[in-house]
Symmetry: C2
Subunit: 124 residues, 2 copies
C-alpha cells in the first residue's frame, strides 16, 4: 500500500497525506497526480496535510513540485489543514513553500479554487 489515493470531486482532485512521505511514495504521488489531471482535466488539486506533525524540506519541496507540475497542466494547487506548529517550524527553518497556495481547511480551500476558476473563466 505505497500509493496515496486521489479522490475526484467535480473539478478538484483531493489527496490526504497521512503517512510520512518516502522518496518512492512522493514520486508515485507526483506521477499519479499529473496523470489524473491530464485524464480528468481537473482544474484544482487540494492536498490535506492535517495529519502531518512535521513538514521538512523534503515534503516542502514535494509540495512545491506538485504545485509546479499542476500549474503547467493548468490546475491550481491548494495545501490545506496545516497545523499551526508546522507553520511555525516552516518559517523558523526558512522554508517558504514557494508558489504553493494554502488555506486553513478543506472548505476554505474549495472556496479558493472556486474563486480561481471563476476568475479564469471571466478572464479567458
Amino acid at each position: 500500500m505505497d500509493r496515496i489515493p486521489i479522490l475526484r470531486m467535480g473539478e478538484t482532485l483531493l489527496v490526504t497525506i497521512q503517512v510520512d512521505m518516502q522518496d518512492q511514495t512522493a514520486l508515485a504521488l507526483q506521477d499519479d497526480l499529473a496523470d489524473r489531471i491530464a485524464k480528468t482535466g481537473a482544474s484544482g488539486v487540494m492536498i490535506d496535510i492535517s495529519a502531518l506533525e512535521i513538514v521538512d524540506s523534503f515534503v516542502g519541496r514535494m509540495l512545491s513540485s506538485i504545485s509546479g507540475i499542476a500549474r503547467i497542466l493548468s490546475a491550481t494547487t491548494v495545501v490545506v489543514g496545516m497545523q499551526p506548529a508546522v507553520a511555525i517550524t516552516l518559517v523558523e527553518l526558512g522554508l517558504s513553500l514557494e508558489g504553493v497556495k494554502t488555506a486553513l481547511n478543506v472548505e476554505r480551500g474549495m472556496a479558493m479554487l472556486a474563486a480561481v476558476r471563476a476568475e479564469h473563466r471571466h478572464g479567458g
Copy 2:
C-alpha cells in the same frame, strides 16, 4: 501518526483509509468520528477505501460499527471506492457489510448522501 484525519466538506465528513487498520487506529477513528458528527451536526460520513487491497472481517466489522454509530447520531455512512477484487473476496468470505451503504466513487457517494438529505427534509 496513528489518527486518521477527518475532513469536513459541508454537511459531510470525509475519511480516506490508506493504512492497514490496527485495533487502536480503528477505535480512535470511531471515537473521532462520533465526536466530529456530534460537534458539527454532519448528516453524512463518507469513507474511501480505494487504497485497501484487502478488507478482512476486522475492517468489515469496523465499517459496520462506524455506520451504526453514525446512524444513532443521525448521519448516513457511505463506503466508496471499493476495488472490484475486494468486493469479490467479501462475497466469497460471506461478509455482507450489513447496514453499510456503498457507492462506486466519491462523486456517486456525494450524490447518494444528497439524495438521503433531501428525503429526510421532505419526510420530516
